[in-house]
């Protein structure tokens, strides 16, 4: 699924990869792929991550991982960093999710009573990136669907997600709700529907696999 998500990145894009699974997308981009990776704590042009032994103590990404620059990197303050996001210069963000609704609402920052560490930069990424994709397991650890008719959890932003990459499928958010677009190798449309808490449009044509 991570490799599939990586193919979503078109040459020349400015991309922010959220904490967790999305961060791993970078490992699936060719070395000479023309892309600009952005991180909220004030950097464009992120290179490969480093182990603590070789790390620069002053150079982390927003998730706290030690990273490297590439030729042409730039460092800037937090206001400028979110200016990139809010002014429309971020072509794509890939985020994790607790829940995604069939209208593209995203909940990924708070589980009342259980987990409320604050949203960090997640609200602005979800609301203002030109395109928001979600990269997540199809169900949570307890097996509950994350793709739902409506989100029960507090939203990060409404109607923001356009595509979801899971371990089972690639699903688009359309005006008619969730549409199955691609399947993971060995998965059937019925498997995906069973794990999804909302109706799924399934095309008549053969469904590509990844």
């Amino acid at each position: 699924m991570v490799a599939r998500a990586a193919r979503e990145i078109a040459p020349g894009m400015v991309v922010n990869l959220g904490i967790g699974l999305p961060t791993k997308v970078v490992n699936h981009l060719p070395a000479d792929f023309p892309v600009c990776l952005h991180t909220e704590n004030g950097m464009t042009g992120i290179g490969p991550a480093l182990s603590p032994d070789r790390a620069d103590r002053n150079l982390i990404d927003a998730g706290g991982a030690y990273v490297t620059p590439v030729p042409g990197s730039a460092f800037f303050d937090s206001a400028t960093s979110f200016a990139v996001v809010r002014s429309g210069r971020l072509d794509l963000t890939m985020l994790g999710a607790f829940e995604v609704s069939e209208t593209g609402d995203l909940a990924n920052w708070k589980i009342p009573g259980k987990f409320s560490p604050g949203a960090g930069g997640g609200i602005e990424l979800a609301q203002k990136a030109r395109r928001v994709a979600v990269l997540t397991t199809h169900t949570d650890r307890a097996g509950n669907p994350k793709l739902k008719q409506t989100c029960a959890l507090p939203l990060s932003a409404s109607a923001c997600v356009t595509r979801i990459f899971t371990d089972l499928a690639v699903i688009d958010v359309t005006p008619d709700g969730f549409a199955l677009t691609e399947l993971a190798e060995g998965t059937s449309p019925e498997d995906v529907q069973r794990a999804t808490d909302a109706p799924l449009s399934i095309p008549d044509a053969p469904i590509p696999t990844f």
Binding site: V26, P34, V35, G45, V70, G88
Partner: protein, 230 residues
């Protein structure tokens, strides 16, 4: 990963500009004014332009060429004190002029670049600059709503650039350039030098290339950029 290359010719980038466009132009006096891009815009001929620039340069310099060629309908600025020609156009009604307090023009442009809607400010609240502006109370204190300003195009002058569009300015040629370079969907930068990717220190970049669409190296530093002898 590698960062994309945004080097283009001046003619190719100026061709993007259309009649009726709003255009931010960097510079405060001569320093930081993209003289070569301005000359190319005169040659290109786009009309009915709205220019946003701190000042109108001096007669026969910088954006005065665009005023003289009749390409400018409206000018959003802070003062025209050094350009009697621009004042004449304004007084005759041939040029519509909107004056902003200088720091408020800077903040409105910055707000446009930062993707915020407006700032609340008390600057000029008891002067005629407040006329016609929306007033909002916050905790019982009145503020003027100063809306974010964006443009169709920004024309930027930098000292040094790299192919990705990272820009560095020198001395007081910085002024409005870093703000305008964030506040348009089409940002065109002329640079005195374009150096290979990796030669600009990532810590001393003034405008991250992520905001810049096109970079062009100046073929020469013409007399337009020289010290003014008054």
């Amino acid at each position: 990963m590698r960062l994309p290359d945004k080097r283009t010719s001046i003619e190719a980038v100026i061709a993007h500009i259309k009649d009726g466009d709003s255009i931010m132009v960097g510079g405060f006096g001569v320093p930081g004014t993209p003289m070569t891009l301005i000359r190319a815009l005169v040659a290109h001929g786009a009309r009915d332009l709205t220019l946003i620039k701190n000042d109108a340069n001096e007669p026969g310099m910088g954006i005065d060429h665009l005023l003289q060629s009749g390409q400018v309908k409206r000018l959003i600025t802070t003062h025209l004190g050094l350009n009697s020609h621009a004042i004449g156009l304004m007084n005759s009604g041939a040029l519509e002029v909107e004056f902003n307090a200088q720091g408020i023009l800077a903040e409105r442009i910055r707000a446009g670049g930062a993707g915020i809607g407006a700032i609340l400010s008390d600057i000029g609240i008891d002067t005629e600059l407040a006329r016609g502006k929306q007033v909002v109370e916050m905790n019982g204190t009145p503020y003027l709503v100063e809306p974010a300003l964006r443009a169709d195009v920004a024309l930027i002058h930098a000292d040094t650039a790299d192919p990705f569009g990272n820009l560095a300015y020198v001395a007081t040629a910085q002024n409005f350039n870093p703000l305008m370079a964030m506040a348009a969907p089409l940002v065109i930068a002329e640079a005195e030098r374009v150096v290979p990717l990796g030669e600009l220190d990532p810590n001393t970049v003034h405008t991250p290339g992520v905001f810049v669409d096109h970079v062009t190296e100046l073929p020469e530093i013409t007399e337009d950029y020289a010290v003014v002898r008054r």
